[in-house]
């Protein structure tokens, strides 16, 4: 039995040890915004926040998260924290099939957070690409995604 916070709500559930965080979110809690892609830590479609930092949801045991604070794309979106980033994804056509998009938004939000914390100026396109390098997109060729993140960083600077 684990008790944790998911998108600000306290949740108590029995979980099997073999359940990874993404199946827990999708199948047990019905939060289907996080996607199970490769399920071995390569594609980034399952990116969520645990205790404030992004992780691969497919490489985290749900059973290990007693007391943790999890934020998914649903929670991040509802909070309004990335409304500008999401608007720029639309404006730049940075989502095509959309499968990678929740993970991309979670990772791009991490760039926005760390750019503010570190105060080292606006990250370059190369730095944006580096940070997004663990999130695969098979449609866009990444250019539009980098554009959307860069627009958001510049507007917030």
């Amino acid at each position: 039995m684990i008790t944790l916070t998911v998108n600000g709500e306290r949740v108590t559930r029995h979980v099997e040890p073999r359940r990874h965080l993404i199946d827990f979110l999708r199948l047990d809690l019905g939060l289907t915004g996080s996607h199970a892609g490769c399920e071995h830590g390569v594609c980034g479609a399952c990116t969520v926040r645990v205790d404030g930092e992004i992780v691969r949801g497919c490489l985290v045991l749900a059973a290990s998260l007693d007391g943790a604070e999890v934020v998914t794309i649903e929670g991040l979106s509802d909070s309004g924290e990335v409304a500008d980033l999401q608007a720029n994804f639309v404006a730049r056509n940075a989502a095509q099939c959309g499968f990678c998009t929740p993970g991309m938004i979670m990772t791009a939000a991490d760039i926005l957070t760390h750019a503010r914390e570190e105060g080292g100026g606006t990250p370059s396109r190369a730095e944006i690409r580096e940070h997004l390098s663990g999130n695969y997109c098979r449609c866009t060729g990444y250019q539009a995604i980098v554009d959307a993140v860069e627009d958001t960083l510049k507007a917030r600077a």
Binding site: P17, E39, I54, R56, L59, V60, A63, G134
Partner: protein
Amino acid sequence: MFMKWPAMGYLRAASLPDLWSALAEHGASAQIIAGGQTLLATLAFRLSEPGTLIDITRIAELRGISVSGGTLRIGALTRHASLGRDALVRAHAPLLTEAVPLIAHPAIRNRGTIGGSLAYADPAAELPACIVALDAVVVTASAQGERRIPAREFFTDLLQTALEPGEIIAAVEIPLAARLSAIQEVARRSGDYAMAGLAVALRLEGGRVMEPRLVYFGVGNGPVLAARASAALEGRALDAGSIAAAQAALGEDLDPPRDLHGPPEMKRHLARVLTGRVLNGLLTAKEMAA
């Protein structure tokens, strides 16, 4: 192909004594899990099917970074992201600070631990090569007590270490020294495992190279301390001549296997190129500091 993990048990050890009793109870079917960034992927492929996972991430004794008695001690549970941000690490072992951005991706660096990386001993991983270059000591713990194993003796073969059953990595200790150090690698994509990489640490005394340690990764069954290339630098000025001598001597040090990336000769070529890049980079840094 399976992608879901096998059915298994899970328990969390609250302390080292708690861990020893859990290991005694579950024996060979137990598998220790820390950050899980390698282990959980292997479960998805059923490359391993442990009976019970024993989570050590909440054992306080395995945490923390400190300096005392001439060594920098890094707890086994230190996550890569924390290692990269830590001020003591930056001051005393900047080689590790420089290595962190080369390890996988931000989301993985937020979970993976230094102890896990060393215990898994992937031959293409950065941290095993770094701790050999830094002449570190791996501190292990078991129900029988602590052992201190020099890093160069810790990695024994492909994915094999000197750890005994029931023994875990507790910390890494790095001797404090005024070193020059650097790490570079060649990978097809940012965050991929290296096709070849090189971690170097050396001291300069009166303009002479002392105790150079050139450690290659991704080119053998573990981190490869290149004895002949290192010897070619020892006692000489760091300059174009000694760098060329190290590159020439390197051929005898390496016996790279053919792998997915290419034949042995390609790995040898990459290792020579990296030798030039890393040592010339140190030379430039030294000249700028002078």
